[in-house]
């Protein structure tokens, strides 16, 4: 896997003035700005004219025109393939996959076509394509609960972005739309902050977003909290559990450094290695099943590059290796929670 070139990554420009938005509102703003700036950008997916399952496109069809915000048939193979073809002709489609799980019905189009056509053609075609994927366990049973980052982490040829807050979501979505390659834009359903047809301003979904234009570069992680005793790498919704745990542990005298990779492919390994060299301890938290999780690859990279800095066994928390169960107490027991994170960090620190 190639590392991001930080010397050429676009700078993060923080603009004057900001307000609190949900991730859904931030993503909608990103779409609106990019569609206004570039008429090649269009959105397609199921039920998106009325806003889509999580209201990301609410009001967009009225403002941008029904020819740029397109309802599709329930036909994931069809409209994902169509988006690939349209992208090769110079359009910049954003595909709204109502639930990330539905991408599996179009497995060939993403795994065999989108990720490979640029390569196999010897660079003759480009595929500027963003696929929005709401993922994760959220009380809907096993078929609407996949954390699919790791399933695609081992697939060369696509980028994977997993923002955890509105600022990153907006900046990363804008960067993804401007990227000339295929980007999976994965957001945990608990972060969307929508309940039915209303927006909920909850701790996990709301955050400051500047009023002006800015980008968050793909491939650059972010230290969400500085600390000295342990590095915890987490993304998506579990990052918020980690941040809560870090606040609790501060009272116990444990200083936690929290890293949000923000992008899984390409992964900002340098940021994690640098942090571990400082804290000498590492915990990875992810909502994927344990087997084959992206965290295992990060651990192997840290061992390879910072072996002599490690003072305690490297730890990892993930979902169990089971389909996500429906019953709420079973679901809660299957995924990393704040309580499990607290216990694991104490264990790494105190043994």
């Amino acid at each position: 896997m190639s590392m991001p070139d930080l010397t050429t990554a676009p700078p993060i420009v923080r603009a004057e003035g900001s307000r609190n938005l949900t991730i859904v509102e931030a993503m909608r703003e990103a779409l609106r700005e990019e569609m206004t700036a570039d008429d090649r950008v269009l959105v397609l997916g199921e039920d998106i004219v009325v806003g889509g399952a999580f209201l990301v496109t609410l009001g967009l069809a009225e403002d941008m025109g029904s020819d740029r915000v397109l309802n599709t048939p329930i036909s994931e193979n069809g409209f994902l393939g169509l988006a690939i073809g349209a992208a090769m002709e110079g359009l910049r489609p954003v595909v709204d996959m109502q639930y990330g799980d539905f991408l599996f019905t179009a497995a060939d189009q993403i795994i065999q076509q989108a990720s490979k056509l640029r390569y196999m053609s010897g660079g003759q075609v480009k595929i500027p394509l963003v696929i929005q994927l709401p993922t994760g366990a959220s009380g809907r049973g096993a078929q609407h609960a996949n954390s699919m980052e790791s399933l695609f982490f081992g697939l060369p040829g696509i980028k994977i972005v997993t923002p955890s807050n509105p600022y990153d979501a907006k900046g990363l979505l804008k960067s993804a739309i401007r990227d000339d390659n295929v980007v999976l834009f994965i957001v945990h359903k608990h972060l969307y902050g929508s309940r039915g047809r209303t927006i909920q301003h909850e701790q996990t979904s709301i955050g400051e977003v500047p009023k002006g234009e800015y980008l968050v570069p793909i491939g650059v992680g972010d230290i969400k909290r500085q600390g000295e005793d342990i590095t915890v790498v987490a993304n998506n919704v579990v990052l918020h559990h980690v941040l809560n745990a870090a606040t609790t542990l501060e009272d116990e005298g444990i200083s936690v450094e929290v890293i949000d990779p923000r992008t899984l492919v390409p992964f900002d390994v340098d940021l994690v290695v640098g942090s571990v060299e400082k804290t000498n301890r590492l915990l990875i938290v992810e909502e994927n099943p344990s087997r084959g999780g992206w965290g295992t690859w990060i651990i192997s990279e840290v061992i390879r590059r910072a072996f002599y800095s490690i003072d305690a066994p490297i730890a990892r928390l993930s979902a169990d290796d089971i389909p996500i169960p429906f019953s709420p107490p079973l679901e809660r027991a299957s995924v990393p929670t704040e309580d499990r994170i607290l216990k694991k960090i104490r264990y790494v620190i105190h043994g």
Partner: protein, 306 residues
């Protein structure tokens, strides 16, 4: 062009047997009339998507024989710089999208090319080549539905060569013709004799004109036959010899040559001259492909961005 395709495939076959073409090959000998007839009905700006049996489709669309042969050999002078091979030939600069070798997968993508053409107002038509085996794939049906409901300028072109790999069409389809499936999407669907290039031309021209004028998609089924097996190690012993003999009597190469001579009055000298020029074109192509070097190993890390 039909003769060029036939001779090109024969050269590829020889090179494969001599170990100069790695991997596998799927020859289109016998189906030349469909390819040339269809391509004649398209404009040079139009797009095509190719199948795993794509050498002839590429040549008919104007892909350079030398670059094509070099691609088959994995050479740096190949149309895809050696990154694609026989299953993924194509040259986007002449509108031939490097081939998609997964049955069914090209239909939604072709529909996307047509979507862009309509949206950008390029006046381009996309022709999606697929085989009879694809008629059983959901992706084709999803693509036909999308193309129909959004009235996209695409021609779904079925090369019905009677076999899905080794399985006879009667074993996997209740319908007599693939074109019957067009009815489900309220698009025109026709089946024509695919071994006559002029018949194919007429049908595809009508479909392409309709698409270009905003009339939406069509399905054109060309009934033809594979002279060879599915791929190089397939002797096609599963075929009924009476079926094979009947189809070989309609082989487009000698049949159309006779028609050109007898009906169009083209002299034997002119025909022989065309054949000679094809042979020298193929010699030059082989010279180019053989002399082209293999790509440097570092090239394997190019064209991939994550």
């Amino acid at each position: 062009m039909m003769f060029l395709i036939r001779r090109f495939e024969t050269v590829v076959n020889d090179l494969f047997l001599r170990g100069r073409v790695p991997g596998t090959i799927h020859l289109c000998r016998g189906q030349e009339a469909t390819l040339v007839g269809a391509m004649g009905a398209l404009e040079s700006k139009d797009r095509i998507t190719l199948t795993h049996r794509g050498h002839g489709q590429a040549l008919a669309k104007g892909v350079d024989p030398g670059g094509l042969l070099a691609e088959l050999m994995g050479k740096t002078g190949g149309v895809c710089r050696g990154m694609g091979g026989s299953l993924h030939v194509g040259d986007w600069s002449v509108g031939a999208l490097p081939a998609i070798a997964i049955v069914g997968a090209s239909s939604p993508i072709a529909t996307g090319l047509a979507f862009a053409a309509k949206r950008l107002g390029t006046g381009r038509v996309t022709c999606n080549f697929f085989g009879d085996g694809t008629a059983s794939k959901g992706e084709l049906h999803e693509a036909m539905n999308l193309a129909s409901v959004w009235e996209l300028p695409v021609v779904f072109l079925c090369e019905n060569n009677v076999y899905a790999a080794t399985t006879h069409i009667s074993e996997y389809m209740k319908n007599e013709y693939v074109s019957e499936r067009a009815v489900a999407y309220r698009m025109p669907g026709v089946s024509v004799f695919g071994n006559d290039p002029l018949t194919v031309y007429t049908a595809v021209k009508e479909a392409a004109d309709r698409a270009r004028q905003g009339g939406g998609p069509s399905l054109v089924e060309c009934l033809t036959y594979r002279r060879d097996g599915h791929k190089r190690d397939d002797p096609a012993a599963y075929r009924d010899h009476r079926e094979v003999e009947a189809w070989l009597r309609t082989d487009p190469i000698p049949t159309f040559r006779n028609r050109l001579h007898e009906e169009a009055g083209i002299s034997e000298n002119i025909l022989a001259g065309i054949e000679e020029s094809v042979e020298s074109q193929l010699l030059a192509a082989q010279g180019f492909a053989h002399s082209s070097p293999y790509p440097p190993v570092e090239q394997r890390l190019s064209y991939v961005y994550a």
